[in-house]
Symmetry: C2
Subunit: 447 residues, 2 copies
């Protein structure tokens, strides 16, 4: 029986072909510098993306090692030769990592992350890179969509139990915080990242007592200032009345009530009325249960008296778009441009820079160019974070990333903020890059 999964060691979190290709590169002396681009292919389900996950990638790149145990396992597969295994013993990532900042708004087809390293290294890191960036961007983007329609409502990430594994639960808490959430129910994410943690009570807690009122009293007497009563275990209206009874009789404060099921608009109105009629105007109403950006929008537009939403499953699984069609593609090798011509999946060659041009504080356009090009009034979006294997750019705190994200979001033109209409910004390709791409394509097709 194995010990509980230990992810400290990530070198083998890779597809086998990354390592078999690496062995070929090693044996054939194919060791020149490669440039890879990570980008997201267009989807009509998202107009924009919130970039996050860079910190995980940096951490991985700085700490990537093959332990003796890893190498022993690789040896046992019979697929690797001794000189290559020997080489892996001292493997380090010694390349460059360019990336857009975490908390930045990006669009499909843009080079968001660019790796420049000896091809063997650039290849081995592919699986983790795509994995960690995809889930981070997926949840961050969904969170920002919720934030975009929530106005002043407080949003809390509640999805841990329905996330795809432990890792996804933790990443979801971080990404949704960046995307405008106020906190999470996830305790370990609170510990790891300093994200504010929140919680109320469960139906089982109420049910473990003979009477709802008794359950409420027990909780409130331990947390007299901080109790949010879950009122829908049996009957929502009776529930709020029981909360009020407890508060009146014993002088407990009702910080708020939570409704987790039913018609949230109707119920929240009834509950607000009852709370107000009993003098609990300051008590908040918190709603949860199947919440997503569409439901938030509808409830907010109907002026539901709801002060906060717990958003779980649909957020952490990005249920309406559970994966991004994202890719990590070779664009240059040994100074020569590279492109794939296969069916419908042409990639754009050359090491690149991404520029953003603003007008009146809003994004006017994005321009993709050759790396060394200058685009007038363009802000360089790809920053060199890791140089020759060393971190050279400070990574901001999570609080700072969150602030940046919300500031960046203000630069997004409103036409792109629709939840249902597909309107997005397609990055421009600079004239020079466009021309050299066409030339290469003709050349390859003539081969």
């Amino acid at each position: 029986m194995m010990r509980f999964i230990n992810y400290k060691n990530t070198s083998l979190f890779t597809d086998l072909y990354e390592l078999t290709m690496a062995q070929v590169y090693f044996e054939k002396g194919i060791g020149k510098t490669a440039v890879f681009n990570f980008f997201i292919r267009p989807t009509n389900k998202r107009n924009y993306f919130l970039f996050s996950g860079l910190e995980f990638l940096i951490d991985y790149l700085l700490n990537l090692r093959f332990t003796k145990e890893d190498i022993e396992f690789l040896r046992s597969t019979g697929k690797f030769k001794e000189d290559f295994l020997k080489y892996l013993e001292n493997f380090r990532f010694t390349g460059n990592l360019y990336s857009v900042d975490e908390g930045q708004i990006v669009f499909a087809d843009e080079p968001i992350v660019q790796v420049e390293a000896p091809i063997l290294q650039a290849q081995i890191i592919e699986t983790f890179l795509v994995n960690t960036l995809q889930i981070s961007i997926l949840v961050g983007t969904k969170a920002l969509r919720c934030y975009s329609v929530a106005k002043d409502k407080m949003l809390i990430e509640f999805g841990m139990r329905r996330a795809h594994g432990v890792d996804a639960g933790i990443i979801a808490a971080r990404s949704s915080y960046i995307g405008g959430f106020a906190g999470t129910s996830n305790v370990v994410a609170g510990k790891m990242f300093g994200i504010p943690i929140y919680g109320t009570m469960a139906h089982s807690f109420v049910m473990a007592h003979e009477k709802e009122e008794e359950a409420f009293w027990n909780f409130a007497s331990v947390y007299p200032e901080n109790t949010i009563f879950l009122i829908d275990t049996y009957d929502t209206v009776e529930g709020v009345k029981n909360a009020i009874k407890v508060a009146k009789k014993k002088g407990v404060k009702i910080k708020g009530v939570r409704i987790d099921s039913g018609d949230l608009l109707t119920l929240s109105r009834k509950v607000r009325e009852i709370l107000d009629a009993n003098g609990f105007r300051d008590s908040i109403i918190f709603a949860s249960g199947g919440i997503n950006e569409y439901k938030i929008k509808e409830l907010v537009e109907n002026n539901a008296p709801i002060d906060g939403f717990g958003v779980g499953t649909e957020l952490v699984t990005s249920a309406d778009l559970p994966y991004l069609d994202c890719a990590y593609k070779l664009v240059e090798y040994d100074g020569k441009p590279k492109m794939k011509l296969g069916y419908k999946k042409i990639t754009m060659p050359y090491k690149k820079q991404l520029f953003r041009i603003f007008k009146n504080g809003k994004i006017l356009k994005d321009v993709i160019s050759h790396f060394d090009d200058v685009v007038e009034n363009g802000v360089k979006m790809l920053k060199l974070y890791i140089k020759d294997g060393e971190l050279i750019e400070n990574t901001p705190s999570l609080q700072e990333i969150r602030q940046k994200a919300l500031t960046n979001f203000k630069t997004l033109p409103d036409i792109f903020k629709s939840l249902t209409q597909h309107k997005t910004l397609s990055p421009e390709i600079s004239q020079r890059l466009s021309k050299s791409t066409e030339e290469l394509e003709s050349l390859l097709k003539a081969l």
Copy 2:
């Protein structure tokens, strides 16, 4: 900058409310035995589910501890009192775990896992339990759907990079192996579980060379017996011709070719023709790129000459059903039945047993009963795995679980195997359980 995520310590992988409720239970002396059921609510997207993930849950329960660091963090939140924190220092799971075997076919509304423990313990484990079982079942079920239509085709799990985090990637490899896959590209899953690992080559490998033929030769000369040539980087037909050139000129074996894009039916036929015409009748054709159970079915039904499928993104994210509406609900406390009456989400009270009745080797019906009931000819599905905190049932090897799953799958009546028609088996409720549930419901509604 934090070190790369270390999951060894899982006690804080929980929702805050589990711990605040625990403090209330502790302080109020609410410490009697509770029984919780884990079950999946009906969905028209799945007719059956493949149960897996139990090994992760067992490992968690046996090793659950609060470290000093965890407790220090909890103290720092200001939400917990010293006597409760002191109690957590010696926290152990001392309860019972009943579960269906891994590799068993189950249906919606069935109690699949049943926990019986002091309520505080049974509550704290909820978040991890639901998290790890959900993703395991989700991917295993999707895998089995692929297997159900793949006939003799080899299925390899290729989805690691698109899984939701590291954890999901590893669980996906394990669950899909149980569900009939032959292996995975995921190296660390190979190391952890002994799952056979497979790989071919990437487009970037081909592109890193001046000519496709040169790329093929370099790979084949390092793996002369084992190369699967990726032939669609530039042009699939030219690609297979280049593979043949390499094999003919240098005497290399073409184990197979992989097609990752385009019209797989047309392309696989062309490629098969070319391989056969050149004497490579034993070389296999492997297809990947956007594969799911529906595409496998279509290709198999059209007799596409494809020998194996790499199934990635859609499998590991269970893209057409990215989450299960699953729940972990209190059904008994201190010997008394418990049920929730809230809107549309009534739960069935009482500690239970699940029986399966077979006829001519096929599942005839499932019956849910009181735990101590006997159902004639019924096979008990819930086994006691952990008793008083100790593992008392041997957990089979992954190979055995996989074998059992495929044997169990043969007992599933064909009418439930449709990918598109929603026909499922609804478990029967035993007469006695039915009656006592009705009685409790009336009683609660009268309160």
